[in-house]
């Protein structure tokens, strides 16, 4: 028996180490993907130039490296904010997807299921009527509108489901789908009517990062990153919620309050993502599932790793969007599905044993 317990403790250590190793690998691959992405685009910038310009901005290192101003501007003012934006939106949507799946105990839930994104999108479209594009904090206003729209939708979904059927799961989904389509069609109307200004329908309904600059990233990144960290702390709670609301309650978890809190945080993340990049489908569903296939169903792991993988995935997809038919861009939502679906089905084939969807 003593031997047995020793073996046990050893496996725990190995688990800890492998978790650390995976996190390290993820960090390294994320950084290299960011570096790679800085080199691709309409203007082909050689790798050596990117490396040199990065060394140039590092503190305490002074090499006398002269790089053309033009390239430096492209790297730091155009590409870097856009890459960071893609990364945090990818991470945010994936983590929000994981959270919704956990709260609703259904692996088919995603950030757009309950109409949060559609509500936020409608609010952003309305905001584009009222907020002049060049005033101070204009993006902050748009983001506030997005929060308001998204939370209004989720609250009304919850309230209606409560009145109709006392929060039955399928009633929540059904009211969510109904409100979601309502918001989407209203968004279409508004976008069709405003032909002169602002957003193009495609860049909004299928997502795009071409508006992302430092102003936008500064408002969005803290919210999404803090939201993800917050959710990771609730990994254990999410795990226990999987065994059902009543039994979770006997384990000391305030089931109802926790569900509300987690949905709220995931919705804030989703709304920020929508305000930044429009509606990018599929990421919030496919990335969590990929992570489930490889790392199992533990929610702490799922949240951490799907954050990383979501970020990498969306950065790479954005690279392809920028380059394939340059100087024009493909809507990123179309591209995520185009790349993601075959990839996802492939992974399902090679590793589907023992995991349900």
């Amino acid at each position: 028996m003593k031997l047995n317990s020793q073996i046990k403790i050893m496996t725990i250590n190995i688990n800890f180490k492998s978790k650390f190793a995976i996190t390290l690998i993820m960090c390294i691959s994320l950084i290299s993907i960011i570096f790679f992405s800085l080199t691709v685009g309409i203007a082909e910038i050689p790798v050596s130039i990117v490396a040199r310009s990065i060394i140039n901005v590092m503190p305490f290192i002074h090499f006398d490296l002269t790089i053309s101003n033009n390239w430096e501007q492209i790297i730091f003012d155009i590409r870097l904010p856009r890459i960071i934006a893609a990364g945090i939106v990818g991470a945010g949507l994936s983590c929000a997807g994981v959270t919704y799946q956990g709260v609703f105990r259904n692996h088919l839930a995603d950030p757009y299921l309950l109409g949060i994104a559609s509500g936020a999108a409608l609010a952003v479209t309305i905001a584009n009527y009222f907020v002049p594009p060049n005033i101070l904090f204009s993006f902050l206003w748009i983001q506030l509108f997005a929060f308001f729209g998204g939370l209004l939708v989720i609250c009304s979904v919850y309230l209606m489901a409560f009145i109709i059927d006392n929060r039955n799961f399928s009633t929540i989904i059904l009211t969510g789908i109904a409100l979601s389509s309502l918001c989407t069609s209203l968004t279409f109307f508004l976008l069709m009517m405003q032909s002169t200004r602002g957003l193009s329908i495609l860049s909004f309904l299928f997502g795009s990062f071409n508006t992302a600059d430092w102003n936008v990233v500064i408002y969005t990144a803290p919210i999404i990153i803090l939201g993800i960290i917050f959710l990771i702390f609730f990994g254990r709670t999410l795990n226990i919620l999987q065994i059902g609301p009543e039994e979770a309650k006997t384990l000391g978890i305030k089931t109802h309050k926790m569900n509300m809190l987690l949905i709220f945080v995931a919705s804030i993340i989703t709304c920020s993502a929508v305000a930044l990049a429009g509606i990018i489908g599929f990421v919030g569903l496919i990335i969590p599932h990929l992570c489930r296939l490889f790392f199992g169903n533990d929610y702490t792991k799922l949240l951490m790793f799907s954050g990383f993988i979501g970020a990498m995935f969306l950065i790479l997809v954005d690279d392809s969007v920028r380059t394939i038919i340059a100087p024009r861009e493909i809507p990123i939502g179309a591209m995520t599905a185009l790349v993601g679906s075959p990839l996802f089905i492939y992974f399902l084939f090679i590793k589907s044993n023992g995991h349900d969807l």
Partner: protein, 261 residues
Amino acid sequence: MNFKTSLAIQNLTLYKNKIKILDDISLELKEGNLISIIGPTGAGKTSLLRTILQFEKINDGSIRIFQKDMKKLKLNELAKNISFVHQSSFLPVGLLVNKYVLFGRNPHLGFFDTESKIDYKIVEQALKKVDSLQFIDRELTTLSGGEQRLIIIARAIAQQTPIMVLDEPAANLDFALSAKIMNILKNIAVKERKTVLIATHDVNNAIRFSDYMCLLKHGRIIKQGTPSEVMNNENIMDLYGASAQITKDIDGNTIVSTKYN
């Protein structure tokens, strides 16, 4: 026997949709005892357990845990005092047995705590008590129904509560395994001075392993006492509406069987 009272239910009344489910129930549970609630289906056994776990709002009466009013306990405090095994638990796919049993440690962990070696040790001990240590690294859903039931009981044991409540812990299992489960529960009650409260349909096992029995019908307790006090033809006729034949086997265990003409 000078065991302390752990759970005291007084004049408990419960309505659901204006229908009286539980009617003026008074019951005292003692430490170190295995208490079974028996009764026909619809008698209110599950409702009584659910009320004790605060899933239902009490209309009248009170429940006290170690002299403290239950309503004043926080949820986490409650989870440190009572553990619960559901009639049919939902088990997530892909979850490992030791992770599942570890859930039982949740009430003892703070928000920022992670499970320590001590918690893993407790998980091992709990699995040992239900004789399932060999399943520790298996996926829960790959086990058979009976094995799963043992693991769920191990989760409740790992919670280390003075009171354990189990809703039909041995239902739908073969007769050897149901006796084994009852024996495990009896051992826990006696050796660790815990209060184990179960609802069951299995009258014979209830008689054999319980210290105290409670006969529930139409939401009322019609009799309560030690098995030898309450198990007679008259009470069984009252409870189930069927005449029974009470015999003893060679070891002296009481056997109840139905009698039809």
